[in-house]
Point group: C3
Chain length 134, copies 3
Amino acid sequence: MPLVRIDLADTRPPHTRRGIADGVHQALVAAVGIPAGDRFQMVTAHPAEDLLFDRAYLGIERRDVVYVQITLVAGRSRAIKVELFRRIAENLAAVGVRPEDVHVTLTENTVEDWSVGNGEAQLLALGPVAGTLP
Amino acid sequence: MPLVRIDLADTRPPHTRRGIADGVHQALVAAVGIPAGDRFQMVTAHPAEDLLFDRAYLGIERRDVVYVQITLVAGRSRAIKVELFRRIAENLAAVGVRPEDVHVTLTENTVEDWSVGNGEAQLLALGPVAGTLP
Amino acid sequence: MPLVRIDLADTRPPHTRRGIADGVHQALVAAVGIPAGDRFQMVTAHPAEDLLFDRAYLGIERRDVVYVQITLVAGRSRAIKVELFRRIAENLAAVGVRPEDVHVTLTENTVEDWSVGNGEAQLLALGPVAGTLP
């Protein structure tokens, strides 16, 4: 049920884009506990001049940026989110993205706010959402 | 006031893109009760390999995906959301999108969070928002 | 910490795109009080037919549209948001965007929902967020 938007420079080759998407997904599976099949992602490649970022904000030396914006159901703990950020950066490092250049944002909604096909609101009937308190 | 992002494969021809956008808007008008003129949408076409989705999650056989992400003011009932999902899938089927391939997400904000032109926060003065309880 | 998405027609030249991004950032600095270095933005240029908008909704005569979608930590007052909208439109007018054509949406999250590099959740340790009440 997370929906993942990844925005990056078009200078990153297609196989790297796929590796980045894989790394974000595997981090969600490991940190949040979503099923492996719960994968919905889109990648948008931008000309470098259309991705703007500060090269020093909070003392981090950025040279490029990969924006990862994740929409997910509310209720994951602070500890889970912290672990998710850590794993995303770790997984992306494995495909050549500097940890300094990984920017992640979460936006929360509820189980009422999802239809993953057939015009139905599947999450209303699914029972507890992975990683949330009962 | 809803803001609609539609992300789809660039293999869908332009007239289909427009039909998809029309179908989402008509579903919002019918299910949520927004005015016909309250239309703000953007379509982004991606190379197929940049749209990632699971082909079987929750038992739905997807062959492609159309991501519809709607930002709207909070307060619409669960029943309205369920009806919105149903109508979006129905309207998109009419322009050749398989219902299995329609993925919809809602994200809510408040009347303070909108400026639809001229740098003003129009929704603060508009009175009750369509489809919300008084 | 705001994350800014700007979506506009690909007919606007690159230097205008940059001017628009600058104008949105300067409005955030002035109205919300974020540090000048807290800049994370992406611009997406769309074929004109993929940006859909109503030409008359709420009596505003639009000829084009620039969508500005800002994700930011909750807690900014209504007065700050109103001032932000006003300044964005004012700054964009200075680079040739008609105020009627500026559409702004805010989506809020929390300090737990941000990692601006290195896989860390920096905002948890930063102290009060600019523009929010203590």
